[in-house]
Symmetry: C2
């Protein structure tokens, strides 16, 4: 049995159940009103420091964000989280939302139906494009993680796929006191209890309720 866990960390959820706003595109990578989900992070010192801004709150939310990258050896991302391009890759020009040096600093496995050569970025991030589905991506990420955890970054559709397959070991949600009204429902229609998930822990932040779901061993 593998000792590597598949973990989702700091994934924001609105009170009405959305993990992203509607109409995601280049201008709205989190969907319309999606940024309301992320206010707990945008105000955190660690986020502001990452973006070269002074100040920011310290506290529980900041601590959660700070440790969200600890012990991660590889990432898995859905295609739409990598970028707004849909269908076959027209060329190699899209290199993710994050500029030359993405915040991952590990191998990142991007789920897609359309093959593409690996893409090496500054700072140790290398994007690998996996066309063989979620199990293959998890195998490759686990092998690349070198004994550390694999973090599933999202988006919503990808998390739902892995949840339905009960492949996620820990799901940390940042439940926000906001309603989006529309968007991508994260947990709707997924019977988490039948899949073996329970709330193992919760921590009150300043702008989010942090809920840690774990699969029973």
């Amino acid at each position: 049995m593998s000792v590597v866990s598949l973990t989702v960390r700091c994934f924001a959820l609105s009170t009405d159940g959305y993990g992203a706003g509607p109409s995601q595109d280049l201008q709205n990578p989190l969907g319309v009103r999606g940024p309301e989900l992320m206010e707990w992070l945008f105000q955190a010192r660690v986020w502001r420091t990452m973006h070269g801004e002074p100040g920011g709150d310290t506290g529980v939310d900041n601590e959660m964000a700070e440790h969200a990258f600890d012990g991660i050896g590889a990432w898995i991302l859905g295609r739409n989280m990598f970028g707004p391009v849909r269908g076959p890759w027209p060329d190699e020009s899209w290199k993710g939302w994050w500029g030359d040096e993405p915040p991952y600093h590990t191998p990142v496995f991007v789920l897609t139906h359309h093959p593409r050569k690996p893409l090496k970025m500054a700072g140790g991030t290398e994007f690998h494009f996996v066309t063989e589905g979620i199990h293959a991506a998890l195998e490759q990420a686990t092998a690349a993680a070198g004994g550390r955890d694999v973090r599933l970054g999202g988006g919503v559709a990808t998390i739902r796929q892995y949840l339905r397959a009960a492949l996620i070991d820990e799901l940390h949600l940042a439940v926000r006191p906001v309603v989006l009204g529309a968007g991508e429902p994260l947990l709707t229609g997924i019977d988490l209890r039948a899949l073996g998930y329970e709330c193992a822990k919760h921590v009150w932040g300043e702008r989010a309720m942090h809920v840690f779901l774990r699969k029973r061993a």
Copy 2:
């Protein structure tokens, strides 16, 4: 314009969006696993005092529960919240879940498709059975409330009906760090933003995140 508000208070919601567990019946008035929604209340001093038990926590959750009955002049309940009887009333024997002296102490308007005579209980509660739908129940409750607020007690299906009609002025949710996996989804498929609702306030309790949604004036 009426000064009376229709308010929902302390309605519990699981992290995965359920307002009640599945398979509600006489043994499981909150549905299977439904009590997990109510732990924030069951541990509160006000609840324990109401049930003749010593102790219980004081704090934010207790305070929320304590004030949930303030300023209420009438209640509206769905049929299923009044009891497990379905279809035409076989007789007058079912008198609610709450014994001889229900906790309402006001007129209570019960939505049903099946006529029944009003039912007077000890302590000022009088159940009226309304067969003409949600608008009629609200009119009757408003008239009976004598200038105070009308509280909509639930259950889930009734709250959804009133929400979709944008008739609820304030919806106070006690969002719990638990997952039920199945049950009655409270907000799924209702576009709260399009209906004019926003989070006006939130308060961290000990066992729940209290979220207050209000309709823009």
